[in-house]
Amino acid sequence: MILLFGIPSETPLAMVAAALDERGEKYVLINQRDVHGNRIRVSSDGDRLGGELYTGELRLYLNEVDGVYLRPMDDRRLPELAGEREQSALRRRTIAFHELLVQWTEAAEITVINRYSRMGSNFSKPYQAQLITRAGLATPDTLVSNDPAAVLAFREQHGELIFKSISGERSIVKKLGADDLGRLGRIRHCPVQFQAWVPGQDIRVHTIGGKCFATAINSAGVDYRYAALRDGAAAELTATTLPDEIAQRCLALSDALGLEFAGIDLRRDPDGRYVCFEVNPSPAFSYYESHTGQPIAAAVAARLAGMGPARSSARRPASAGAAHDPGDTVAA
């Protein structure tokens, strides 16, 4: 039995459900918005973990579940809870449902895409960058500081800089311009992350089941995800093939982070050097699949069905092979 958890109309979740249908796999989609009907009960006699999950009219035994795809939105922002007081019974039960479902996926010995404990590195970009470099991929020279003088010295050393948030909040990349220098003193109130600007072509790599699906992005924008909105020109996406060494490192990185499924953001600079910016542990792959036709949802479905190696014990890049919300999420 496979569980999918999220909002049924959300594109990545719907695409995985369709891929499971295509395979003829048995699955249950738990609608996150059914805040009145969802219930989970986990029990252990000290030796075995068990319990039940109730959704709609269904009751499922947790020990019959083999795979879970977690793709919820921030449960605090569910429309069904909009009018609820902070400590209302419904809000508390909804939060408890999300927490306990996550706790069970952490403890159960099944395939989970992805465990929350493994998604956490994305919470801090400079923390994750340290894990990325240990896995053998280069990262841009970075300064996180609340000292304007240090930022100016870093700029002197590296020339053009970009800045972005340290955490996953308000994560939009901008170039450091003259206007920004005039308000640099404000960083004394909260440190900011600055990086050497790396020119080149963006490449998004999805790793799943020992395969890499690489997409090349051509965009005039600093941050291609928001190119149409901020710069007026949408990004162009095409399937591409990575050099084998880089594909192996991407798979090794996913392994090192403990991620069954990852969206890795690379840039290939004019000298052909690959630099990694970050790894998204809950990738909105539909944006890339719909533009390139790469069978990413099918690969996720196959992994949930127990096909393919756990994470990336087999090392083979996939060969190079429609638009949705391009925003990746770290589900709350």
Binding site: I40, V42, D47, L49, A96, L100, A107, F123, S124, Y127
Partner: protein, 191 residues
């Protein structure tokens, strides 16, 4: 931070400067990031500032020294905080007997399980303190600490019947180990 190296410098208000290049090991007992005034201000900027400053603390603790005990995690700056369900899952695989457990989302209070007494047992690296002397129990406690990536780990055991794990913490009370635990910590940090 570059591909080759990570460096952390902290200049304190009194002028003292801490440089990660001079630090061999860190005993990390950080529970919360130190928040600036901005994190106490108006929502949503305050929430953004707390998130940013927590993310910053996680990164600089990670890069502060070659040995950090416990190393920071996204789910806890002094090591990951876990629910009883998660600790029991790890403990069973480590061979540590666990207490019975029933948790229900319709009864949110059942998700909270933290004994209101100092931890009974302590793991420091490969040494244990206060862990009941039963066959295999101490080795299993050490294995749990290893599996949890928390070489400094506090444990609670049931007081009635054979000892079974009730809960664990990455931020234990160290006093159960006394001076011997301090020596064990010293060894761990020097490793």
């Amino acid at each position: 931070m570059s591909t080759d190296a990570v460096g952390v410098t902290v200049t304190l208000a009194d002028g003292r400067r801490i440089d990660s290049a001079d630090i061999a090991a860190v005993l990390n007992r950080t529970i919360l990031a130190p928040f600036t005034a901005m994190a106490q201000g108006q929502w949503p900027d305050s929430a953004y500032a707390r998130s940013e400053q927590s993310a910053f603390a996680l990164s600089w603790l990670e890069g502060l020294a070659p040995v950090v005990v416990n190393s920071p995690a996204a789910r806890g700056l002094a090591g990951a905080w876990r629910s009883a369900t998660e600790w029991f899952g790890l403990a069973r695989r480590a061979g540590l007997p666990c207490a019975a457990l029933t948790v229900d989302s319709r009864e949110p209070d059942t998700l909270v399980r933290m004994p209101m007494r100092p931890n009974d047992g302590l793991v420091v690296g490969r040494q244990t303190f206060g862990v009941p002397d039963r066959p295999g129990l101490r080795a299993a406690a050490v294995e749990l600490a290893r599996a949890a990536d928390t070489p400094l780990l506090g444990l609670w055991f049931s007081r009635e019947g054979p000892p079974r794990l009730e809960m664990a913490t990455p931020h234990p009370d160290l006093s159960v180990g006394g001076e011997f635990a301090v020596e064990a910590l010293d060894e761990l940090l020097a490793a």
